[in-house]
Symmetry: C2
């Protein structure tokens, strides 16, 4: 059975967007797996993978890291149902993945970073605070105080996504890795934060429900 | 023969990114056409189309406006070579189009707006200045003075595109409307500005040459 090394916070909370992408692919393909919980401070437990970031999967002798590489690995391992169901769609999904990492994460990170801090394992708190405050250039508390200022940027990105999904059930018409990738990123936000993410984007909200149904998650 | 209502500046310069998208599709499909030059102040000449923006095409009795609608119209009219060559690619191209309009145009507009002003027809100058300064919130001269400050944002977007195109010949692996759409936007910048757009993005530069060769433009 596949073992997924999965980021864990306090109270066994699983919130990594990248690990959620892998779980979404596994769920869509109905591939059974178990998880190995990894805290930020457990990075040495990933040494066998030759790098220090989750997700990592172990499948018998195979070890694959990075959510995009894992998606391609799982598509080769079990082609049906396909996550790249036609010509050009693997490349289109890779572009969409890049867009989500850049546009969606960049907009959402300042909004939810203090929420994540509240949910990480106590032993990870110092690492998380130090590394994230360095990235943000301000304290977590200062960023939390700017919540109202940070919302419009998220809403701008969501309204771009809304404009696309309002006309079709999935981002590329049919369900592809583009949907699974974005699903993972929204799982990150919704597992740590009370932000009413989809209150102004009804089509995105409907897609979000549709995805949970399709994936049984 | 198809008539394309095409934005024109001084000295017959054609620089609209949206008109270039249509010209790229026509060139790719080798559909013959003539153009009707339209200045910003000639908008009343588009009244027959029920709206006031270029591009518009007239194809016998058919009148189609909006570069995306025109692309779909031309794909139906003459399916080969396809600009949406497979399942999901029309939707993926639509998403890419939205990304280009939002991310690429938003980054490039402040950098090149003063260059565009220098190239519009003299009768359009007042309209262009007034409407663009309202959008920018500063004068064209003030924006031109910030050229060095505006460059990094463009380079960030270009480096995202570079990361995608570095691994394949076209944005979705095979040539699709995604390439034609982005080609149109880069034509907008390169026809009005001396900005060395691709100096730090060699793969994008190679794609740019490849596109000119494929389109014969």
């Amino acid at each position: 059975m596949i073992e997924l090394y999965d980021l864990v916070g306090a109270n066994d909370l699983r919130f990594s967007p990248f690990c959620w992408r892998t779980k979404a692919v596994l769920a869509y393909k109905k591939i059974p797996y178990t998880t190995v919980p990894i805290r930020f401070s457990d990075k040495d437990k990933l040494a066998f993978s030759g790098q220090d970031r989750v997700p990592v999967i172990k499948d018998a002798e195979a070890v694959v890291s990075d959510s995009w590489s894992i998606a391609k690995y799982l598509e080769d391992k079990q082609p049906e149902p396909k996550i790249f169901p036609g010509l050009g769609l693997r490349e289109a999904c890779r572009f969409f993945n890049l867009y989500v990492d850049r546009a969606v994460h960049a907009a959402c990170f300042p909004l939810v970073v203090a929420d994540i801090f509240a949910k990480v394992d106590p032993v990870d708190r110092t690492y998380f605070r130090t590394s994230r405050e360095e990235r943000l250039g301000v304290t977590l508390e200062a960023m939390a105080a700017k919540r109202a200022e940070n919302r419009p940027r998220v809403q701008t990105v969501l309204s771009d996504l809304e404009a696309t999904i309002a006309e079709q059930d999935y981002f590329f018409g049919v369900l592809t890795y583009a949907d699974l990738c974005l699903f993972g990123s929204f799982k990150w936000i919704t597992t740590v934060s009370e932000e009413p993410l989809f209150s102004s984007t009804p089509a995105l909200q409907a897609w979000w429900s549709r995805m949970h149904e399709r994936l049984g998650l």
